[in-house]
């Protein structure tokens, strides 16, 4: 008997604002733009929206950030479901999961899930947008202050440390990481939505400056301003709307937690392992039946370790697995087909989710993958701390 949540909801709307170095709008205004575009995309009437889930990004909810006030800004009067959610980069997939469960439980019919962020300011670097904590002039308190004292700053540090350990344990090389960046750029070249559309070679990768060894600049994601909204609807409503329904076949989460814990192997084994089991069991499929991957790629290494944790290859074999370019256009496992967060746009978990919706619909234009019966979408947040997965399909069953 199929899992009761398999196909219990479908994604019916997708709204994306311009992304990147776009200025002059607050996150609430960006979010409202994305919601307006998503409602129009879906063909729903505004008053059919009865759920609103919000993820505010690093800009947050304070100082003109994205608050529950978005409801009033949009004039949504019929909400039966509403919340602010944050599990970092896993939030987007999680919002779709909670929306699906609410729809299956009869608590809502059409749930808007929206992310907006505007960390970039004019005339400042992308790094400055995410490195603010390092410039705190007061003395750090207690033993956690040993991190700052060691110069352990930003998200770049833990991901570099994780990648280094994988390299030491399994012989993963800089070329392996670079191949992921190169494959994804080849997709971005074909995507009108991508911020980085100049072709890239492995030589370009090696020539890019170090951020923190073993991560080059081109191992690291972009930073973008913008917003994405998706609408999750009941399967009945989805059938008669404007877009081909994107059915949710599988969902899972995995949160291994504190990476300082004694005995933790957080660097090389992520919550993806747990999420994968739940999601594949719900979808009733195996990893071999996934046609397209949209994997959270804050760093090249995140893609590599996620592929291993889902069982596309054995633990430790991610490097050789990606080295033949199979993730790129024409490859055996099309992955991050919009360029991902490395070359496309950085909207946290909305980056893989938006491209997964586009591919599942068959609306990818030049970059559309021919076989897209099952599309895996993952979200990852913290320092490989939080993980969520969706398996999407154009087929109701």
């Amino acid at each position: 008997m199929p899992h009761p949540l398999r196909g219990a909801a479908a994604i019916t709307g997708l709204g994306m604002t311009p992304m990147g170095r776009i200025y002059g709008k607050t996150t609430a205004e960006l979010a409202a733009d994305a919601v307006r575009i998503a409602i129009a995309d879906s063909g729903l009437a505004k008053n059919e929206i009865d759920g609103l889930l919000i993820n505010a990004g690093i800009t947050g909810t304070t100082g003109g950030g994205l608050t529950l006030g978005l409801q009033n800004y949009l004039g949504l009067e019929n909400l039966r479901l509403m919340n602010h959610m944050n599990a970092a980069g896993s939030t987007a997939a999680q919002m779709v999961q909670y929306a699906t469960m609410a729809i299956a439980a009869g608590m809502a019919n059409n749930v808007v899930c929206v992310f907006a962020d505007a960390p970039l300011k004019e005339n400042t670097s992308a790094g400055a947008a995410y490195g603010a904590a390092a410039r705190n002039p007061s003395r750090p308190k207690g033993m956690p202050g040993l991190y700052a004292a060691a110069g352990y700053f930003g998200a770049n540090t833990p991901y570099a440390l994780a990648a280094r350990r994988h390299m030491a344990l399994y012989g993963t090389t800089q070329d392996h990481l670079g191949q992921i960046a190169v494959s994804q750029r080849a997709w971005a070249v074909m995507s009108p939505l991508a911020q980085m559309r100049e072709p890239m070679t492995i030589a370009d990768y090696h020539a890019s400056r170090w951020i923190i060894e073993p991560l080059h600049l081109l191992d690291c994601c972009l930073v973008s301003n913008g917003a994405v909204a998706v609408i999750v609807s009941s399967p009945d409503r989805a059938k008669s709307l404007a877009q081909p329904p994107v059915y949710i076949h599988g969902m899972g989460q995995g949160h291994p937690g504190d990476h300082g814990r004694v005995g933790s192997d957080w660097e090389t084994e992520t919550g993806g392992k747990i999420a994968a089991r739940t999601a594949f069991a719900m979808a009733g499929c195996t990893v071999d039946e996934i046609d397209v991957c949209e994997l959270y790629d804050c760093y090249t290494y995140t893609v590599l370790v996620t592929l291993e944790d889902y069982g596309f290859c054995k633990k430790g074999e991610g490097g050789p697995f990606v080295s033949d370019g199979k993730l790129g256009p024409g490859g055996a496992l099309p992955t991050n087909t919009g360029g991902g967060e490395l070359s496309g746009y950085y909207m946290w978990g909305m980056t893989p989710l938006s491209e997964a919706i586009i591919q599942t619909r068959g609306a990818g234009g030049d970059r559309q993958v021919a076989k897209h019966d099952r599309v895996l979408c993952t979200g990852n947040g913290g320092s490989l701390s939080y993980h969520a997965a969706l398996i999407l399909s154009p087929h109701a069953d």
């Binding site: 790094g127 490195g131 003395r139 033993m143 202050g145 110069g151 030491a168």
Partner: protein, 135 residues
């Protein structure tokens, strides 16, 4: 890049929960919290054991020996007190906890995962920080 000599590196200071760690450091002892119920070590300081949730613990002196669990070499200017490039190293202590630190007495290009190291105190006026050097 040039270092800005007027800006010091961030120097942590004790809070109530971690005072025995910082007091021990001034005397050259690497103090860790150890659960009285299940003997698990923990880092950083917290009010309960993250294995068994017992609130009972003792401060005990660690050996100061460990291995490099992983490391990176930082080239990005986050804080003006750091001269680039510098290593950011996680040392896994014999007792289990993992400390964020920097290796001294070794070139960044010679650092390897698994390298055996021993604590080497970096002394400041009112705080002493556990750095590590090859054993």
């Amino acid at each position: 890049m040039t270092q800005n000599p007027t800006v010091p590196k961030p120097l942590p200071e004790a809070d109530e929960a971690s005072r025995p760690f910082f007091d021990g450091a001034m005397e050259g002892r690497l103090m860790l919290m150890k659960c009285s119920q299940c003997d698990a070590f923990r880092f950083p300081s917290r009010n309960h054991c993250d294995d068994c949730l017992s609130p009972d613990f003792d401060w005990v002196a660690a050996s100061g020996r460990g291995v490099v669990r992983t490391f990176g070499v930082m080239h990005q200017k986050y804080h003006p007190g750091f001269e680039l490039p510098y290593n950011v190293t996680i040392v896994e202590l014999e007792e289990g906890p993992r400390l964020p630190t920097n290796l001294v007495g070794i070139a960044n290009s010679d650092i390897r995962v698994g390298l055996k190291v021993t604590v080497d105190w970096e002394r400041h006026e009112d705080v002493s920080l556990p750095k590590f050097r090859p054993a």
